[in-house]
């Protein structure tokens, strides 16, 4: 399997995504992207014992420290940001210090947000170790933490200086988390690429079984799509919103169920089914989506939290504009759009799934 590089073209904030197997530990794999004399590695209690030593080997000549956070979505809070900032202060970090995120989406979101506010912004590098982070959250510069009232309500746009995706780290990922990552891969297909959807349907078993060629191709395809969308709409004033397909329903599930009960990818999977129903797609398309999600080991309906309760939680979504919630809906599988006008009967049918 060869290695691949994808560029995110953002002018002076341009950066590269390198996708390769077992590249962590290679001397200079990270050091070349560290500008100053020192770095803070941010990881968690699960990932650090597995990969922190290898990451250090990729930092020859760079003075570094390691902060280990608890695992899980509950960690994504302002309190944790304060912890990371305290570490930066304790190591006398300055504007030329680099923050390196080693872990999944939670570690990446926390590290990036802390890097964006320390001294009004220092450099950071993403080393995503979960499938979800590798195909989605490590690219594009969205960082942030949760508020008890809503997911990612507090954050910043802060692009990484580099993303190093070592697909070898997926071998230690629990199956449930691996499946949650596939949900985001399916999302890319459903929002805008019918050919990729067909490819996924043909390769879903190989993907679940971590066939190296299929995994690398899926990651490359998603990173390329995301890079292209982000380069055209960094601040999500238009097309980037499509990447939130399934997320408005999904975030509400996560918020109401309690952070960490449902994995983000699982909530997005159920959210995509709800979005398809709210889009009034034909039954056979909804079944096609459900079938693909189920093949990936993902849920195809929300938990019985109550449709009304979910609807209320959705009102705090960042996509509300002029008092109207904008949803990402589907014209068909592979073609998403943003709208504030939703067929109410279809929306009620989607929410009814949560009535149990």
């Amino acid at each position: 399997m060869t290695e691949q590089t994808v560029s995110v073209e953002l002018g002076e904030r341009r950066y590269t995504i390198r996708i390769a197997a077992n590249v962590l530990g290679e001397p200079r794999a990270l050091a070349d992207f560290v500008n100053g004399p020192d770095a803070l590695i941010v990881s968690n209690e699960v990932v650090a014992p597995l990969y922190a030593d290898r990451l250090r080997e990729s930092l020859p000549g760079v003075r570094h420290e390691l902060v280990i956070l608890p695992d899980g979505e509950q960690t994504k809070s302002l309190t944790t940001i304060a912890t990371v900032l305290d570490h930066l202060v304790a190591m006398n970090a300055n504007r030329d210090t680099t923050v390196i995120a080693l872990g999944g989406g939670v570690v990446g979101d926390i590290s990036g947000f802390a890097a964006s506010v320390y001294q009004r912004g220092v450099s950071f590098i993403q080393v995503p170790t979960t499938l979800l982070a590798q195909v989605d959250s490590s690219v594009g510069g969205k960082t942030g933490v949760n508020h008890p009232a809503g997911k990612n309500l507090i954050g910043a746009f802060h692009q990484p200086a580099h993303v190093l995706i070592d697909t070898g780290t997926l071998t230690t990922l629990p199956a449930r988390e691996y499946s949650a990552g596939i949900a985001e891969i399916i999302k890319y297909a459903v929002l805008g690429d019918r050919r990729f959807l067909a490819w996924l349907e043909n390769n879903i078993t190989a993907l679940r079984e971590q066939d190296p060629t299929v995994v690398a191709e899926a990651i490359r395809h998603c990173c390329t799509m995301k890079a292209e969308i982000v380069a055209g709409d960094e601040r999500e004033r238009g097309r980037r919103a499509l990447l939130n397909l399934g997320h408005t329903f999904g975030h509400a599930i996560e918020t109401v169920a309690g952070y960490g009960e449902w994995l983000h990818g699982e909530a997005v999977a159920a959210g995509m089914v709800m979005a398809a129903i709210a889009s009034d797609l034909p039954d056979r398309d909804i079944e096609r989506l459900r079938s693909l999600l189920a093949s990936a080991g993902l849920p195809v309906a929300p938990p019985p939290l109550g449709g009304d309760v979910l609807w209320r939680a959705m009102q705090l979504d960042k996509k509300v504009k002029d008092g109207k919630l904008r949803l990402i809906l589907l014209r068909e599988l592979g073609d998403a759009y943003v709208t504030a006008d939703c067929n109410n009967a279809a929306l009620q049918a989607a929410l009814a799934l949560a009535d149990g």
Copy 2:
């Protein structure tokens, strides 16, 4: 006295600064700069009782709420940011909500930082009511809070959508705070404008006595200088650093003395004297600077906190690069520059002022 407008030319983030007496309360003075349906006014316990009602009159047709913070530099913490964010969540604020800062530099820094991280960035408007905020902190987009280890260590660049300077609010400002604002005015002259320095020496009594024409002209001159510098170097990669003249020494004084013991402007005044001494300026120039500061009712030396202690606090300054502290020094009064190479004997003489 006529009203004045200064533009900050930052492309799509361009905004105007309006300087006028008793303009607060004028219908639409603020409403025209609010894009969405609602706003959160952030103020403090001293300013809100004086001006919040008048500000509300400038927001016809805009749904708004008010959050009142404690007064003082101690309020500038991550904890207060969480408080403001909780208010935004409680009012169901969305991406089109506007945050309005009514108060001095502390209120502006907190409001701007909260606005920059709420839903990854909402609009905000500055209504500065102290002289210091009117001539300096409300313009340019630096926002943030303090860490126990250092001033403004946590923050973001987030430009306001508009700055409304009502010089009428200065009539209720305590004399000590008014003098602290003059320190920043003197800073502009000393860092880069010898003619303005001479003008200030001629008008310092009228300025202290709040002659309306002199006050308006001083504010306009400082805002124009700042707008020009910020437009050319928004992220402080070069010339903008000159605006920190006296601030590296000053921040150390504030941090070591305990936030709030010394007003920011007072610390900057003493810091400018230290910078002049560290620059090895002739005695007559140092006396000239001291004389102007004293005429404004400002301190001309740091408190006896210990030169070594101040030096240690300065090492966490944001201007450290490659392990070397960069200082803003003076070639002469009216001509500042950034350097990492400081005459050590002169620096020791400056720090010795703090040995008491």
